[in-house]
Symmetry: D2
Subunit: 396 residues, 4 copies
């Protein structure tokens, strides 16, 4: 019998909504760290796709090291230039050759990075504003799809919880609202940062919102655009958190007297002074939640078949969601999965779930139901892999 080592226990701390203070952050898709995450994952997907198409299966790889070196720009009301391009330095490991077929690894990586920037960023042009170079080297050349039973070759954690707290939901949704809907209506870019803080019943959302210099005529224009954007965000945030008092503040670091505004040429601070790296921004949950049990794993760019850390983080989230959907008695679940080197990855060293029930008591029946969902998800771990490869699971 397969040994899953599932441990389900009762959550013992205060419920997140009952804690006096809560702190949550999300870096938008245009933040330098998020750009690195997105590029790394886009490379992993493109590389896997190429290998499947041309070699019949994915190859081992880990493109989880991407460094963004900030450029230099001269934004001013009505215009400005990128003086020095943003430099993207792709590192990591892949396979340059398999069974005599050369894999255009560098070309795939660079084009995937450019394509990602093109479909994500409205004003940042990868050919004009960026120099993208690839330093990725040779790794293992195992064709990983042919391995029936993938074995953990590292000790890694996967961690998740579900559902999001009210503050987490507010931060997550508000940030994505800005970089999608709001961006269509206002001259703003994607390097948004939403910092949420709840003290008791009062939520403050502090938003950093980059305006596009060429589309703002002057200081008055800027102030008006900022005011209107703040209003729109306030309305949106109130809808997301009807039960709490919420206050939205935009670009609080502006100092009009000194001429300091959050003005950019391309919509991201990567154009001047803000470097980035993979795994330094949002967790796999899309949030930074210092008061939660969190994995430090940087899943983006890692191979979606055998990398335990990546698969377990995605699996933990997927399983937590399933528990909430299928075991109505569970109010909140937090899960840690730890790999066991040398064992199949569906047989972790331990899979630990802390369950908070609606009744406040963890019955044997509920414990069994939760265990069953976990066991099923471990058995069907291939489903999670497939979702990652299809880009159906967001990882940052």
């Amino acid at each position: 019998m397969t040994k899953r080592n599932i441990v389900v226990s009762e959550a013992t701390g205060a419920y997140i909504e009952d804690q006096p203070v809560e702190i949550v952050e999300r870096k938008g898709i245009g933040h330098p760290d998020s750009l690195c995450d997105g590029i790394a994952e886009a490379i992993s997907q493109a590389y896997t796709h190429w290998c499947e198409t041309n070699l019949g299966g994915p190859l081992h790889h880990n493109f989880d090291k991407v460094q963004l070196v900030a450029g230099e720009s001269s934004p001013r009301f009505g215009g400005g230039d990128v003086i020095k391009p943003i430099r993207i330095q792709i590192a990591g490991r892949g396979t340059p050759e398999y069974n005599g077929t050369k894999v255009p690894m560098d070309t795939i990586a660079i084009q995937a990075a450019k394509d990602y920037v093109r479909r994500t960023m409205k004003y940042l042009d990868p050919d004009k504003h960026m120099v993208i170079d690839c330093f990725a080297g040779r790794g293992s050349s195992e064709l990983i799809s042919q391995v029936v039973q993938v074995t953990a070759n590292d000790t890694s954690f996967g961690v998740s919880h579900w559902p999001r707290s009210g503050l987490e939901e507010a931060v997550y949704q508000t940030c994505n609202y800005i970089t999608s809907t709001l961006r269509d209506k206002f001259p703003v870019g994607e390097d948004v940062k939403v910092m949420g803080c709840r003290i008791g019943n009062d939520i403050t959302l502090t938003v950093a919102l980059p305006f596009i210099a060429s589309r703002i005529a002057d200081a008055a224009d800027y102030e008006e655009a900022k005011r209107a954007a703040q209003e729109a965000i306030q309305i949106f945030a109130e809808k997301i958190t009807p039960d709490r008092n919420v206050k939205v503040m935009v670009n609080t670091a502006d100092q009009a007297k000194r001429g300091d505004y959050y003005l950019t040429v391309t919509g991201t601070s990567a154009e001047m002074g803000d470097d980035g790296e993979v795994g330094r921004g949002n967790r796999a949950s899309g949030l930074i939640t210092p008061m939660r049990s969190t994995s430090l794993e940087a899943p983006c760019g890692k191979n979606p078949v055998s990398h335990v850390g990546k698969v377990y983080n995605a699996l933990a989230l997927d399983t937590c969601r399933a528990i909430i959907n299928r075991v109505p008695e569970v109010k909140e679940v937090t899960m840690q999965i730890l790999s066991q080197i040398g064992h199949p990855i569906d047989q972790p060293l331990v899979c630990n779930a802390q369950v908070r029930t609606k009744s406040g008591v963890l019955s044997e029946e509920t414990r069994a139901a939760v265990t069953a969902v976990i066991d099923e998800h471990l058995a069907n771990i291939a489903d999670v892999r497939a979702k990652i490869r299809a880009g159906e699971i967001t990882l940052f």
Copy 2:
């Protein structure tokens, strides 16, 4: 009166030692991620030292983006070469010029990186095995020592807890023991990884330990050295955790039949196949603790005066230690500090301490005593800055 916003509450979850499962990891000083952390912090210290000596005070900087691109090597029993050097790409922001004086920023950064490697690594030679390049650019040129009241210009967290759990202590001490004492006696390098797992009363320490190829004659020699090292580590670990059952396992991924051993030319997997970045390894506590409240902040390389994330993480740890020392009733404390943009950094948005007392009850007296320690540490935040600059606080 200064508004510190200190909130002291009772810890409500299960005590860490009573939880059924615990997972802790430490990456040794020679791990690619740790090398990046160490180099970044060494650059910040050397840069600050140069500025203090030549300009009368530190300059704004953030050298917290360092990327390590793995080299290529050919280790074999008795020898081997570094085929392709390890590439260190320093990024981040500094000040190339101040009041007409040119700051040799790139030279300082590269030399600091080399010096750090030289004093940390026994077999890795920065001039022979590495190419170290600096892409750091221009940032703000404010002379930050002259700013009397440093203001938070970002929303950042600092998080810490104290004391370490038994497992945490075991992982931390064992890892450091290997890279100091053990390294003098055995042909091993510094890219050690100690993964600790406690299930109930049973602790397993899984150790990855790189052997030095030139000093191991053959497979038999390797197996004997590994056995002896494992024995020494086992003895050490048992001393650290007398109250638990502890089992040490070394290089479990070895496959003698396939000739797979953890053999290196330089003592780090950075020589072949393992890339690294700042902030991807240990937290400021020196550990990776997925089951604890954790900051994602990467403190290494950031400026020790005004960078809120760096200062708050160090401050949180320092304060937690002081609480344990000075308030005997407190058994364990966890603290989060959140900055408030535009306010002095000794006035955080909230400073949140969860206290677990020996009696199980948080009395008003204890609450007041804890609050007093926190208030004092916030008031004397300059002390923490000085300790960081002197390298007295380890950050990874």
Copy 3:
């Protein structure tokens, strides 16, 4: 009176057409060295244009160091990929800032390089097949247009001769014919090399001609295309050199039995295995003429106002042409101009012309006429500068 130091003497060696052996080469515009030359000069022109438009005059610069690191490709009949992009490393000196205005030097340089490749190369895509990076640094910031009297700050030569010999004309015209007219009709790229050798009355033109893999179905198709191209080139070359026996040979290094053909994905060997640098290919005359007096100066990328080497090479060619046009008695002229540090550049240390007359004797009248043309050209040296800036003088 302005001291021009003009020395006109009689040419004493054998006339080039009477020498028994003659060797001449031209590297086509797609050769890695020529690409570097073209990119360097395009950057100089774009940079000068930007400065004139935005600052009122050109700034000092020398972008005459461009390195091309070959990529890796996998051409095969019917297709193939660029595996690893071609890397262009722009170096040289420019001015990042002038009177408080930031000059987007890196962006100008990279875009100029891309634009140049786009308008020169039919199959090579700078965004898909190349990584173009700029390492150019700070040089002098003098606004050189405001300098009325430009002074030589270096000892440099300019050398030229006119007219071209019959072989030189054949090599020059044939090479350009291939990369323009022939390229429209045949699936060939621009990395053409024409090596001409004349022994007595017999000329051999050895042509290296890159075929485009995706447009050649198989070996038979290749052989047919090569045959037809060779025929077209033969016909063209015969027209150019009606007085000599000429034989064209194409891709003589092909070895059909071993499957060795000159097949490329992009039309240049830069895609695999052939690196390049500025100044390593054609001279300012567009030719490599080892049996002629030749300047080693690499004019491409240098500033067209004050760089003596660049200006003198263009001036020498311009003056030689004018002498031939205006002094009918002169059959051939070779000229060297040497700058004198610290003196205005219209006052060289020596301007040396060796004249071969139709009559075989250099009369005082002819000497005076030649001297007058030279004197006039030195006086109007600004005309040559303007022609260079307008791209009217080809330099490689």
Copy 4:
């Protein structure tokens, strides 16, 4: 019978010593271009040595593309820093693997470059003042020592003449005197440039001579050192050219009033503002001689076995010297050798020698004697290869 295609004809132009004007230049070993030449050749030698030691013979390679990107420095009387290191970018082609043995190509290249700088430059420290990186890629992996009959795979020239003219000798010897003997006595570096100009019987040697900032106390000290150095050079130059009037001028671009001196931290202008490339400085003769028949070939870094251009240039010089030594009637000889693609390299397309005899007439006997020397040198072409590999032939 082997077909050597040797053509010996009478030199027809004016003898170099009788020409009215002569211009010659030499860039010293510390000039940025010379540094690139020296590094490239050192890499070729080290790589060949490694392959011979470990693989039994040399491998194909061409490391003839090295780019030096100038650093930034702040020299001042009594001291100064290197602000930004000099960047050396090694390109070219080599073989990363042969018969399963990995060749540490990058490591060899970087160490050879450092070793070369260390043994050539007195003040420039490759570990402190330079970043040396290798971008060299994969080329052909043929083991070239096993090829009995090396075949030309390219059309290349070799050109040389002997003896040097009086001016050439003066420039060559003076430059080397400065970077050896004079450097031991004066605080000067190796980035010397000697420009020689002869008009009639008057020779001017214009010398650029970098002084070492840390060893010059002030302007007066500089002026005194410069005066003394100029005097020493004058004395030396007069000894070399007893038959001509010679005048030495040092650092004529200095402008004491503006504080402009040729002051450096490291002895080379590569530390600030002067970039370099292989093949942009001295020819294989060690000189730049625009009035001579000259090869543009950059021999440094090319493989010494099969690269026609390199071997032919060295062979031409070696043969010219031998002709002068062994055929007393010959006063001066100039030689061009042109390869024939697909033919053994001892069978050139043409080997062309222009001979100037003491009697003024080229007798059949002399012609035969010259032909015999040439034929012998072509037959023993392996000797030249061995001399190159041993570093016995200087190439720049």
